[in-house]
Symmetry: C3
Subunit: 264 residues, 3 copies
């Protein structure tokens, strides 16, 4: 049984994701198609990249992940097949895969240039349906990726801000906002290894200050602003039972600083 996933910014109200499924099932009726989400913020490549990083390695080996967040559709940006570990990706080459490739270098990159595996005529605004979906379906039937086009050496990168660490402090920022309004930061759990989780550590964001890093949503009263390490291994700022982004009026790029007082 082979699996194809879809990650797009089409919205659940559009028929575009369904068009891709129709094309896929016409070529390979036996494949399992799974929606990761169609609610990537429109044309927000960074949001798409974080979602792909978060979830795709949970899928069975050889799963084909199709990602369409594609503000450059119809321009000369490339479309690529990328093998990263045991997972396979098809996406526009615009940085969507940059979180994944900075964790693990790809073992194969192919630029899709072979129209024999496309739907004709190719729409200028919907390469997801006309190029990516049929390519995914053919791969799921066992087509070797090199048949899709020509090898490529480089992929487009995105600027991923790196937290600055000093003894007793980490300066990071908000990368994206999840569907609960939780603020997902670029401060990952590995940077927090020895940082005490109690009142010695304070997190500052906007004009608010949070004391300590909580272990879970369930341990504080409703409405409390908390910091915790979320399921994706990143420091998150959340409001218990509420929406942190709306409460704090902050978004991507907002600085988040963590300081630890070492009481002797």
């Amino acid at each position: 049984v082979s699996v194809i996933t879809l990650t797009t910014d089409f919205g659940t109200g559009s028929s575009y994701g369904a068009a891709m499924k129709g094309v896929i099932l016409t070529i390979n009726p036996a494949v399992t198609v799974i929606d990761i989400t169609h609610d990537i913020r429109p044309q927000d490549v960074r949001h798409g990249a974080l979602i792909l990083e978060e979830v795709t390695d949970r899928f069975p080996p050889d799963t084909i992940h199709v990602a369409v967040v594609d503000p450059g559709v119809g321009t000369d940006r490339a479309i690529v097949f990328v093998q990263i570990g045991r997972q396979r990706y098809l996406a526009p080459d615009n940085g969507l895969l940059s979180r994944l490739t900075c964790r693990q270098p790809p073992s194969q990159v192919i630029q899709l240039t072979e129209p024999a595996y496309w739907l004709e005529p190719v729409s200028e605004t919907f390469h997801g349906r006309d190029i990516l979906a049929p390519a995914a379906a053919w791969l799921s039937l066992g087509l070797r990726p090199e048949r899709l086009g020509t090898p490529r050496q480089r992929l487009v990168d995105l600027d991923w801000p790196v937290p600055r660490c000093q003894p007793g402090s980490v300066e990071g920022q908000v990368l994206t906002i999840d569907s609960f309004g939780n603020l997902i930061t670029n401060i990952t759990v590995d940077l927090l290894g020895d940082v005490p989780r109690d009142e010695r550590t304070r997190i500052a964001i906007g004009d608010r200050q949070i004391t300590g890093i909580g272990r879970t949503y369930g341990t504080r009263p409703e409405g409390t602003l908390i910091a915790l390490v979320g399921s994706s291994g990143r420091l998150e700022v959340a409001v218990v039972g509420g929406n942190a982004a709306a409460t704090l009026h902050v978004g991507g790029g907002t600085p988040v600083s963590l300081t630890t007082t070492l009481i002797a």
Copy 2:
């Protein structure tokens, strides 16, 4: 062919539901995974319980329903397997299954304590992915439920307000709001057996009064406030072509009273 369903408050924009599907398909690639909804109001256990009651008995026998509305994740609340009739459930023990168990007592309750069937390491904020999803997948492969942990006698209950009935009147309340803005009440069709559906019966909610219980949405002009028995067998208050919750500014807990004038 076995079926696993998902009912969560993750939102369609998050990748959390997809992470659960990835885990499930990695263990059992042949299972069919169906989304009931990921749009339970965040942390609204009561809303989740009503949705589970509404829909789960429509599924094939031995379907495994996984429900994650879990404000207590990471606290010491239990996670349970529950067999109710021919349907099987995996959920935090927080009342999510209380509508189902008050209709039909469970024939088996197991508290999940056996980490051999969990994903390691278990995240403190995402038991859906790390405990519930793999347990569901193993069950779908034929694992006997008693292998997941230890028998349990009681389940957490929720307070479900019961309508007060007197000759000629029923005093109930709004339990939840559906995606059309229809107000779903705790007045079920069995309480309405002999009540006339015509102008002799009036429904009061907020400062509005509705005359008669309609048979369907299609019989009144747009914008009319109506009362009818919905597909889940509950008295609902709706606006034809509109949103009753927004129009009346009411929500869960709002009293709804039904009075019948017996004209001699």
Copy 3:
């Protein structure tokens, strides 16, 4: 492998689509059920008709498309099976299929009158679950459509406004709005065959004027109001990286005129 699709206005937050899937899988556990969308604007038959036209011919031959946008549920409107080309449809007879049938006349129309293939008792407000879903499941198992009821000659039509064309101008209107806020018009690409795409052509909508027909979203700066031919082959008005419907405060029925100055 057979495929059933669902197109409804239930909303992703309701359990109604899931109830239909439960009914379908109980009758035919091996069928693949695909959501086209559950976010048709509530009771907007015209919106549903355009989505069905856009996407259903992308599916494998003999796919069964179930559409439920049904403001007349419970009245005496018919429910029909319709064969159009290699695709099969089940829907209330209210114009939902009128875009499809005006492109290609149906080869078979059956009114569903045979309760042997319905779920008993039939709810007065949810024919999707109790009539359409089981009928689709039985068809997917090979039941011949004529077993579902009696032949029918006519289908309900909708008024689809036709653009008025004169030398140098086309007068059309907005038909619907997609999930990006793009305004989808009734001006199709075949009407634009010889129209220059450059500054000689202007599009007027509301009090705004657009110069030229763009080729793609990616070629103009953020916030620019553009006109382009979308993936469904219709002239669309969009805002790059934004929402045209919200920006222009316009909706269905708004006039859109296209004029071409032939510079000698």
